[in-house]
Amino acid sequence: MRIVILGMGSVGRGVLASIMEKDLPFTVTGIADSKSGIVDPSGIDPGKVMTIKREKGICGNPGITPIDVVRQADYDVLVEVTTTNATTGEPATSHIREAIMRGRHVVTSNKGPLALHFRELKALAREHDVSLRYEATVAGAIPVMHTIENGLAGNRINAIYGVLNGTCNYILTRMAEEGLSYEQALIEARELGYAEADPTYDVKGIDAAIKVVILANTIWNMNVGLSDVEVTGIDLLTTAAIRLAEEQDCTIRLLGEAVPNKNLLRVSPRILPRDHPLVLNGTLNALTLSTDLAGDITLIGKGAGSKETASAIIGDILFIKRMYAGRA
């Protein structure tokens, strides 16, 4: 399977490292970062390109842009793992459109294009008879999309509830465990690399809301966007509030929820019994799917990380490989 990787950040490097270490059946024929690109039909050595990136800061030729790679390289699957832009979805959306129109499959961890152009991109992929897979966009390593699509295929899903942002979950865990203030816990999360320099997207609940949008559109074929979700973040929570909850054997977690029959799409801090399956410590993510046949299914795992996110990407590529095996 020939793949092209756009983005050599944490996720892109995680994919490259896994290909190398696990001897996966992929040939990387093109790579780009924000400032350079490289195309090689005979295959790029993942180890070498990572060394170059580490030493020079760029992976290839500054004269080659990401879109050049999308257009010129020879590949079966485009792996789009550039930075998420939740406002415009660009340039990732253009990369994805271009690849689909060339008849290439797409696997992405980029939430922007899915949150903004879900219907259009799905339709475009169908029209060109290719796959658009995005397991990594929601809950990192947890195979939520595969579970929904395959394992729960015969079920009607009535509602979903989830811990969809590891940064918030970490901050709330630390406020509860150590009595830290919100500000102290945020500083700690930054120092450990769990929070961005600008944590707005995470702490205001926007990142979690984007994931609710992607899930709702996927599960119920909705056509909703970020503005359809009622969003409250964790940035105004007090340590005292958490203590008041803890005094009653409860705690507070940021939850995303979608309940179509109540017309509900919401991200908000909620009070939960401490022994509730969605009360997890640290940066873990979780998703409960309420279904008609299977009852409630709760999946728990790592929501971010280089190798963890790569796991979801690789699962998608291998799924495509298997699904299209034997087809031209």
């Binding site: 105004l236 005292a240 309940v259």
Partner: protein
Amino acid sequence: MKLEMKDTPGQLVAALRPISDVGGNIVAVIHQHDRASHADTLGVQIVLEIDELRIPELVSRLKETGVSIQRIGEERLVYKETVILIGHLMHTDIADTVDQIDRTGFAEITELNIVMPAVQERSSARLIVRAVSRDDMERALEILRAVSKEKELLLIEPLDGAA
């Protein structure tokens, strides 16, 4: 407590005497149309305050009078939820916030716990809301949502429905 009986002629009147005999105080009489069945099986609920120790006596007196009781609920406000409010609770008149629920007649704030840091800082409060029915609880939460919005308070609700 809450008594539930069939609303057939004479039943309600027959129940009144034993209730006053044991010193019970009727809070409300609620006639309800049972949606699941036909009109001739209307039910009636009597909500009353009574010394717990006298409940067995009341029950036997009611039986003697020929009143058939379908259900006895000991508490009127059987539904309970905990919510948390964060913000300038005093400046925005927490007494009024509580009263907006209490005066509904179907729900009450039965416990209020406030933590107040320095004067300028936001305080946090835990409120226990009790309501007569599930629908009433939802109505009470709806009122709290509206009040919180208006007073710019952060309302943290319990998670319902999930596992």
